[in-house]
């Protein structure tokens, strides 16, 4: 028997039963059926599970739900309705960044958090913010270009 956990996800209040130590990623995918956020390594080393907590990019696979009660969680399903998320998604489509796509919801979440904090990132800002998001297809060059395009607002 667990106390009902209440989280605020994408502006909506969600209530469910889960042990307090269950990682947020498990709650999102298995309890709430929000499968846009991906499982990669499970130890915060690949970035596939990135979500926003209070606007900051964090790895949901090592984050117990008890740590995020009363905090604003945003996932890939909703990030398009934030200003930086919308810009990032458009640039991603314009430049056709994605190859297999598995890591890309994490990449987009990390890029959107970067732009929200640093509106005109240079290469070193992109390195610092994106180094923890791994892409095995090697889309890094297009990711960098898309972040710059999203920041500049220019069209391709």
């Amino acid at each position: 028997m667990h106390m009902a956990t209440v989280l605020t996800i994408n502006g909506e209040t969600k209530s469910f039963d889960a042990p307090p130590e269950m990682p947020l990623l498990w709650v999102l995918r298995d309890v709430l059926g929000m499968t846009g956020t991906k499982f990669g390594c499970g130890i915060a080393q690949c970035g596939a599970c990135t979500v926003h907590v209070d606007g900051k990019a964090v790895r949901s696979c090592v984050l117990p739900v008890s740590a995020v009660e009363n905090r604003a969680i945003t996932t890939i399903e909703h990030v398009g309705s934030t200003p930086s998320g919308a810009k990032v998604q458009k640039a991603w489509l314009d430049l056709e960044v994605i190859q297999c796509g598995y890591c890309q919801s994490g990449q987009i979440m990390a890029a959107a958090a970067l732009l929200a904090a640093t509106s005109h990132p240079d290469d070193s800002d992109i390195d610092a913010a994106m180094a923890g998001n791994i892409c095995r297809c090697g889309t890094y060059v297009r990711i960098r270009e898309a972040i710059k395009q999203a920041a500049s607002g220019r069209q391709s």
């Binding site: 990135t50 964090v58 117990p64 008890s66 070193s124 390195d127 610092a128 913010a129 180094a131 923890g132």
Partner: protein, 447 residues
């Protein structure tokens, strides 16, 4: 007596005096000598009850009382190997002269302590003497447990004997000569084991006396936090001033304001001991994390307060290698603050920043905040390197928070680079670890 005989006799006498004086100087004061007040035998102490279990367990069964005391003495952490049955032994302690394995203390008759009589058990716990007469190595902290009352030791025995017997033989020790000569411990024990039971100090409060009993006889704080003397026994001239144990630094827990616990609030200490975290001071990891999980977190609240009251009274001893104040929050941008060590920075960006943040204040949980911790303010970076190598998992009332172990994923060179970057960015003075230092730290951790 001839002249020659007289000279020889004088030389022998002088030699004996010199050795005795040397032993006396090396041995130094006992763990409670700093308190200085008059001591009375426990039976004559009326002001309170410093030994035994807290009030809520007074009426509990012998086994339940023993369970509380066994947890307070933290028997399990050393006598269990991760993945194996509790108390079945086999945990390896890597020493410079070989590896020592903990024993099975389940009631199995062949491989455990099933044949121990009450007197056998008292001899082992209070005097370091095994059932077969052989001597224990002081990795078993019997010089601390010797202060426990017979009643409490036997309650622990009753608890251990209530557990399922596990058939498990620990590996043979691999100590090299002369350390493999167990009999030599007779002399060590004669010098360094006081073999006396707890005697309350009437000049102190009942709470202090309870705290002293818990911290000294049971929790054996000094075994990690007090530096060792030439004889590898505790040097109580620097009581609780900090030391390296099992490859981790046990920090200064004297009342020193700058580098000890002097500026911690009572609630910080209570929180650190009971849940393994105090805001602004970091989280317990490594051996202290285990002590919190298996021992302190099980203490009754009044016992935690008694330990805190006792710790407050330990005379200040500064740690000269630590800064007088810990470093403030680092800049929010990766561009500001420390910029040297490109490799360390790259490691931090890819492996650490998503949980610890560029400022050191974690976006995830206060438990993962680096700012203010001694680990990042220690210019030797011992615990930073250790936690990167072996990770941590803390169980709090709100659930578990963990850090992955990176020891198998990164090279010694990379771990040194990230530790040097982390101490430079979030501490007062960057460390200068090399790959060789990290390799040595790997060697020392118990497994």
């Amino acid at each position: 007596m001839s002249g020659k005989m007289r000279i020889l006799t004088s030389l022998v006498v002088i030699a004996i005096v010199v050795v005795a004086l040397g032993v006396w100087i090396i041995r130094g004061p006992g763990p409670l000598d700093f308190a200085g007040g008059p001591k009375v035998a426990l039976a004559d102490y009326r002001a309170g009850k410093p030994t035994g279990v807290p009030a809520k367990l007074e009426k509990a069964s012998l086994v339940e009382r023993g369970e509380y005391l066994a947890k307070a003495a933290d028997c399990m952490v050393c006598h269990s190997k991760p993945g194996e049955k509790d108390y079945s032994g086999g945990l390896g302690f890597k020493l410079p002269f070989g590896t020592l394995y903990s024993t099975n203390i389940t009631p199995d008759k062949d491989t455990g302590i099933g044949n121990y009589s009450d007197q056998d058990f008292l001899n082992a716990v209070q005097r370091g003497k095994r059932h077969d007469g052989a001597r224990l190595y002081p990795a078993m902290p019997y010089t601390s447990y010797t202060t426990m009352t017979d009643e409490d030791v036997l309650a622990v025995k009753a608890y251990l004997f209530s557990l399922p017997a596990v058939r498990a033989k620990p590996p043979e020790n691999t100590l090299s000569f002369p350390f493999n000569q167990r009999w030599a411990m007779i002399f060590w024990s004669a010098v360094f084991n006081p073999d006396t039971r707890f005697a309350p100090d009437t000049s102190k409060s009942p709470e202090w006396n309870r705290g002293a009993y818990l911290a000294e006889a049971l929790a054996h704080c000094g075994e990690c936090h007090t530096p060792r003397n030439l004889g590898f026994a505790l040097d109580n001239r620097k009581k609780f001033a900090g030391a390296i144990t099992a490859g981790w630094r046990a920090f200064n827990i004297t009342s020193d304001k700058a580098t000890g616990l002097g500026n911690w609030r009572d609630e910080d200490l209570i929180s650190y001991l009971s849940v393994g975290h105090a805001p602004g001071h970091g989280s317990a990891s490594g051996p202290m994390g285990e002590a919190v999980d298996h021992s302190f977190s099980q203490f009754a609240p009044e016992d935690i307060r008694a330990v805190v009251a006792y710790l407050r009274s330990v005379p200040p001893v500064p740690s000269p290698d630590l800064p007088a104040t810990t470093a403030p929050v680092a800049p929010a941008s990766h561009k500001d603050g420390v910029t040297a060590d490109a490799r360390g920075k790259q490691m931090f960006a890819s492996a650490c920043a998503s949980c610890h943040g560029w400022s050191g204040e974690s976006p995830v949980s206060p438990m993962a905040t680096l700012t203010g911790t001694w680990a990042v303010n220690d210019p030797a970076a011992t615990n930073v390197a250790q936690i990167v190598l072996s990770g941590t998992k803390r169980h709090t009332p709100d659930g578990a928070l963990s850090m992955p172990a990176f020891g198998n994923a990164y090279s010694d060179d990379e771990i040194a680079a990230v530790a040097n970057y982390v101490t430079a960015r979030f501490g007062t003075k960057g460390s200068k670890l090399t790959a060789k230092d990290v390799a040595e730290l790997r060697e020392q951790t118990a497994e």
